[in-house]
């Protein structure tokens, strides 16, 4: 430093300081919310062994990204060069499934970015071991089931093109795999809308366009979260009584139930309605309509109505089981029918298709309880009046099988007559189990189909209650002032869409439950929320910390910029050399060196 003049010393200090500053701090481009894959632990009661499910790691260190398309392109390039070298033709097609090792190697040390549907093309469990990559970011498409997305799944020809249901089923299997296996790499989900300016998968033929502006560095700071298990389940009851009979006893009761909880492999994305919660709005509207009818002594029915909302439906209907065991015995004895409302409509842009309008009436037969077949037939005839096809589905209940397929089975086991109305024919369909494909969004709540369903169910109930002589014709109550209000259903749905309703993380005093309670109270119904403690034999713990912040850096490496700086210095020196001439420049340099020596 003593050889340099003072000004140069100051400049050098400034330079060193900025170098240190740069090494310590690189500004982020932007931060986005990401949602973590479920992490759960299940302890076996027999062996005491712990089974870890889902992703165990939470944080992703700052690493470069690599998209699915990049690595597939690399695979094809490397195999093309290989076949050129060896002058052989490849017999098998180059796919991630066929070249698994190469495919996984490609992502080493990077954050793997996969669009959701790319998971159909390879086995995600290849990445379950730690060290395969730094983390996985799965991009959830904006429109999960549009034809554009369907084109993603490459088919050989039109004949091989699979139906939407098959794709949904396959994705369901992938979702099951994600939460059944232990993944030692962090797995996060992000909405396409958030990253569409960074990663574009629109033009699927052009792999080079997968990264819009070059590669990025991603960093996710996630917390592992606390262990939680389902401690309690809350049920919301709204009671609409009729007068007592002459002996002062309760008249017959009809129970209408629905569930408000849902499930998703990412608990922070469990706000969908299609797995069963779109019945909540219908149930609330039904309560309003019948309260209105019961307010008039002329239209007051001879049945008590009990509207119940339960939780724990994805945990084998834990909430309903707990609720039924705590209901007043007198009420239970007066129950004539339990109407369980499952998912009543699946959103699809092709709403005109018959499949989406179909309803299924599930009931169990055999044993000590016999559901009067007239009940499902009555529902069928009513649904025909509204142009909806309702089919009956019966299933024998196996006493030794603890699995509850539909809610009515719980009441059946308590010797109560019950039916379930559902849009699903089978209990284990992907969306019904709770899936990322549960895509009911706010914009989808504005359709009149739910209003039709509400009118249908109200009509059915009124036929049960009022027992008109002419059963084939509609009672024509639910029109004009008594017409179901679509706004009520929409508002309930919109409200539910704002909350994550994953059972293990629900508290007693959840805001949406309080809102629902207030809604029932505003209609004039006797409402209460009851929370019951749960203690299970099989302990399943779920980890919170379901959301994290993703930070994106789009930087060239510091080395690269230093290189650019050196090049610019060389450019300046070169320019000086060219303009000054060779002789003069060498002379000046010699003079400079001599001056320094003289000073010393």
């Amino acid at each position: 430093m003593k050889y340099l003049p003072r000004r140069s010393q100051l400049l050098l200090c400034f330079f060193i300081l900025t170098l240190v500053y740069n090494l310590l701090h690189v500004k982020a481009l932007e931060t986005l919310p990401v949602y973590r894959l479920l992490h759960s632990e299940q302890i076996s009661t027999t062996t005491g062994k712990t089974f870890i499910r889902g992703t165990t790691s939470a944080s992703v260190p700052s690493s470069q990204t690599k998209t699915y398309f990049e690595c597939v392109a690399n695979l094809k390039k490397s195999s093309a060069t290989l076949s050129q070298d060896t002058e052989t033709e490849r017999e098998t097609e180059i796919t991630p499934n066929n070249e698994q090792e190469e495919f996984v190697k490609c992502f080493k040390g990077t954050v793997a970015v996969f669009p959701l549907f790319s998971l159909l093309e390879f086995d995600i469990s290849l990445f379950s071991e730690g060290g395969t990559c730094k983390g996985i970011l799965i991009i959830l498409p904006r429109d999960l089931l549009t034809t554009k997305t369907q084109e993603f799944v490459t088919f050989q020809n039109e004949e091989e093109r699979e139906s939407k249901e098959e794709i949904i089923k396959k994705l369901g299997q992938i979702e099951s795999l994600l939460i059944e296996k232990e993944f030692r790499v962090p797995i996060y989900f992000i909405n396409e809308d958030e990253v569409s300016h960074l990663f574009s998968f629109d033009n699927l033929n052009s792999e080079n366009k997968a990264n819009k502006q070059g590669s990025y560095n991603l960093k996710i700071v996630g917390k592992p979260g606390n262990k939680k298990k389902i401690k309690q389940v809350s049920s919301l009851e709204a009671w609409l009584p009729t007068d007592l009979d002459e002996e002062g006893k309760l008249k017959p009761t009809i129970i209408i139930t629905a569930n408000y909880d849902t499930f998703s492999i990412s608990p922070a994305l469990s706000s969908g309605l299609e797995s069963g919660n779109n019945a909540v709005g219908v149930l609330v509207e039904l309560s309003r309509l019948f309260k209105k009818l019961y307010s008039n002594p002329q239209t007051k029915g001879q049945y008590n109505l009990l509207f119940v909302l339960n939780s724990g439906s994805k945990q084998n209907y834990l909430g309903t089981k707990k609720w039924i065991s705590s209901v007043d015995r007198k009420v239970l004895e007066s129950v004539e029918l339990v109407l369980c409302l499952d998912s009543l409509a699946i959103y699809d842009d092709d709403l005109e298709s018959k499949r989406n309008n179909d309803l299924f009436i599930h009931y169990s037969n055999g044993g000590k309880v016999e559901v009067d077949k007239k009940v499902p037939m009555k529902f069928q005839s009513v649904s025909k009046l509204f142009g909806i096809n309702a089919q009956t589905v019966t299933k024998k209940i196996m006493k030794n099988n603890p699995l509850i397929s539909f809610e009515h089975e719980i009441f059946y086991r308590k010797k109560l007559k019950a039916i379930t109305i559902s849009n699903f024919q089978s209990y284990n369909q992907t969306i019904r189990k709770g899936s990322l494909l549960d895509l009911q969004k706010e914009s989808n709540t504005n359709n009149n189909h739910m209003k039709t369903i509400t009118t249908l169910i109200a009509e059915f109930l009124s036929k049960m209650i009022y027992k008109p002589q002419e059963q084939q014709q509609p009672i024509a109550i639910f029109e004009n002032n008594f017409e179901p209000n679509n706004l009520v259903i929409q508002n309930i749905n919109k409200m539910l869409l704002k909350y994550n309703r994953f059972s293990p993380f629900l508290e007693k005093d959840e805001q949406f439950l309080l809102n629902l309670e207030n809604t029932f109270k505003s209609f004039g119904l006797d409402t209460k929320i009851e929370s019951k403690k749960i203690s299970l034999k099989k302990e399943t713990y779920y980890y919170s910390g379901t959301q994290a912040k993703l930070t994106i850096f789009k930087v060239k490496s510091l080395l690269f910029e230093f290189f650019v700086f050196i090049i610019s210095l060389i450019y300046l020196a070169g320019l000086y050399y060219i303009l000054n001439g060779k002789k003069k420049t060498i002379l000046e340099i010699k003079q400079l060196i001599n001056n320094r020596k003289k000073k010393d």
């Binding site: 900025t18 910029e561 303009l579």
Partner: protein, 238 residues
């Protein structure tokens, strides 16, 4: 981006004109006055141009950097006419300062070009280079300003020749000089960039083309100046 990139861009933006000026005017006096007049002339000319553009240029919804924009002939004609004020500004600056012809030409060119670089690119580059997103645009702008210096020197040479020649001997050579002065005005240079962008020529390719054109103009203008000076010297001797 880091400070390395910022240093690189600013070095290219500011140091290159300085190097060129220092070497071209080594050992000569009265450099500072020519620089001062050059800067003042640039500022006043730009201010006047802005006022005239704002007054006469029709409103356009298109952004300057919109390469898909349609070419508007009326705006282009007004721009070209207004840009002829550059010649006036340059002429006034050359006339105001004193000293050897080369000092005046290089001083005014250097000052004009540096003022343009600082006002157009310095602050934008300072802020842009410190953004986390890497972009070559700032380096391209800095190198573009170096090319503009060449073009400005050529332009100033032409203005000097036109001024000192006092429009004598209106022959083909004078017409050629007039046309050169017209075609290398800054606005026309910028317009050519817009036109070239229609053929998807921008970025580094555009930079190379600009350098080729600017260098050609520089060499031509220098030869014109040298032949003019020689002519003058011969006249004086006679």
């Amino acid at each position: 981006m880091s400070f390395f990139y910022l240093f690189a861009v600013l070095a290219v933006l500011l140091v290159v004109p300085f190097i060129y000026f220092r070497i071209s005017t080594k050992g000569q006096s009265k450099k500072k006055t020519s620089i001062l007049y050059g800067v003042v002339a640039y500022l006043l000319t730009t201010l006047l141009k802005m006022i005239l553009m704002a007054t006469f240029l029709p409103d356009s919804d298109q952004e300057e950097a919109d390469f898909t924009a349609q070419f508007e002939p009326v705006s282009a004609i007004i721009t070209i006419v207004v840009s002829s004020l550059d010649a006036l500004g340059c002429f006034l600056a050359l006339r105001a300062c004193s000293g050897h012809s080369e000092i005046r030409i290089f001083g005014v060119s250097f000052a004009w070009s540096s003022a343009e670089s600082i006002l157009s690119f310095f602050f934008v580059s300072w802020i842009g280079c410190l953004k986390p997103e890497f972009n070559w645009v700032y380096m391209q702008n800095a190198l573009g300003s170096n090319i503009n210096l060449l073009k400005q020197i050529a332009f100033t040479h032409i203005i000097w020749v036109l001024w000192k020649g006092k429009f004598q001997n209106p022959d083909k050579r004078n017409i050629f000089i007039w046309l050169s002065a017209f075609f290398i005005t800054p606005e026309l240079f910028k317009l050519s960039e817009v036109l070239l962008s229609k053929f998807f020529i921008f970025g580094w390719v555009l930079l190379v083309l600009k350098f080729a054109v600017a260098y050609g103009l520089f060499i031509t203008s220098k030869k014109i100046y040298q032949s003019f000076e020689q002519l003058n010297n011969n006249k004086k001797k006679n």
